[in-house]
Symmetry: C2
Subunit: 202 residues, 2 copies
């Protein structure tokens, strides 16, 4: 018999709210016997459809949202850095994630966590594939193989397909969750997700 469905967790590495959610979603899911499918996707592709743009580039909203993220992090007791290069380009990190996930999904998640922490916890720019490779080396992944893999057509295609799937399912922001086909957007909806997991719905 199949157990309860995993939670699909869609995210963009350049998204600080995605980072905050990444620190909490596994424990929340586990509390209710759920697994989590980590699914990076190229948020820029969704922005083209929803006429949006990276938060920090939006007049009025950008400055406010960074202050809001700071407050959210403080309330969680998480140290957050405003990276010098933002929004970074997550293409290499995302390809590396899907390459790793083919053979070792747990290691792919470990890389995602390392990338997220490197960017939002230490302010590092993980746009260059070399920076992602260095990060990979530090968690026991072959960085040189990673650099090669990010140019592999099948890997590139996998990221495109995952991004398209996310968009087809309605993901327009980061983090974005699907819990038994109910969609949730935002780190601040984890409490709603918990309500659904606890009560079977809202």
């Amino acid at each position: 018999m199949a157990g309860p469905q995993p939670i699909d967790f869609y995210f963009e590495f350049a998204s600080p709210y995605g980072y905050l959610a990444s620190l909490e979603i596994d424990a929340l899911a586990a509390k209710y016997g759920r697994a989590v499918n980590w699914r990076p996707f190229m948020l820029g592709a969704a922005f083209k459809i929803s006429n949006s743009a990276p938060n920090m580039t939006i007049p009025m909203k950008g400055g406010y949202l960074y202050r809001d993220v700071e407050r959210c992090a403080k309330l969680m007791g998480v140290a957050l850095i405003n990276p010098e290069i933002a929004p970074m380009n997550s293409l290499a990190a995302m390809r590396a994630f899907y390459w790793l996930s083919e053979t070792n999904p747990a290691q792919a998640v470990a890389l995602a966590k390392a990338v997220y922490h490197g960017h939002w916890g230490e302010g590092r720019d993980l746009s260059p594939v070399e920076a992602v490779a260095e990060m990979a080396n530090s968690i026991g992944v072959d960085g040189a193989a990673l650099v090669v893999a990010t140019q592999d057509l099948a890997v590139k295609d996998r990221l495109k397909k995952e991004t398209q799937k996310a968009i087809d399912r309605g993901a327009f922001g980061s983090p974005f969750f699907f819990v038994d086909d109910e969609a949730y957007w935002g780190h601040d909806r984890l409490s709603h997700i918990e309500h659904q997991l606890q009560n079977g719905g809202i």
Copy 2:
């Protein structure tokens, strides 16, 4: 000696999150000895600067957000209706609010609550000034005088000035709050506001 500063509560009647916040902000503020300045403003003017649009008109986001609002209302135990005419035009209701606020601020807030409930609790379209006048009559305000007042140059100007002030202070969405010069956007930030009121900051 001056007491603690009131909370500035900026809102758009066409905003369902503003409606949900309007049901809670007075009690939250009172719990911490604060008053609330209710301040409707023409959100469309802010959207022109932030390159945004009414939620329900945004591809991908519109449908999701209505479902999100439904869930938020359910969790609050509040009945919410999806109005047939949306987004409604709040110009007449906002002018009526500021006209009333000159002589009777409490009655202006009562009208705001009636307009909000009429729209989001009963699905009524409060775009026509006649509908606002009818609503006003039901709470003991002279509807005929209200219709005349909404064409008064000073009243029109007051709404323009309040809207410009909201934008100058950084309000780009509804609800938007200022608590001792800290800005908060969204019904889902009431818990952050409470944290600040309780602890003097975040």
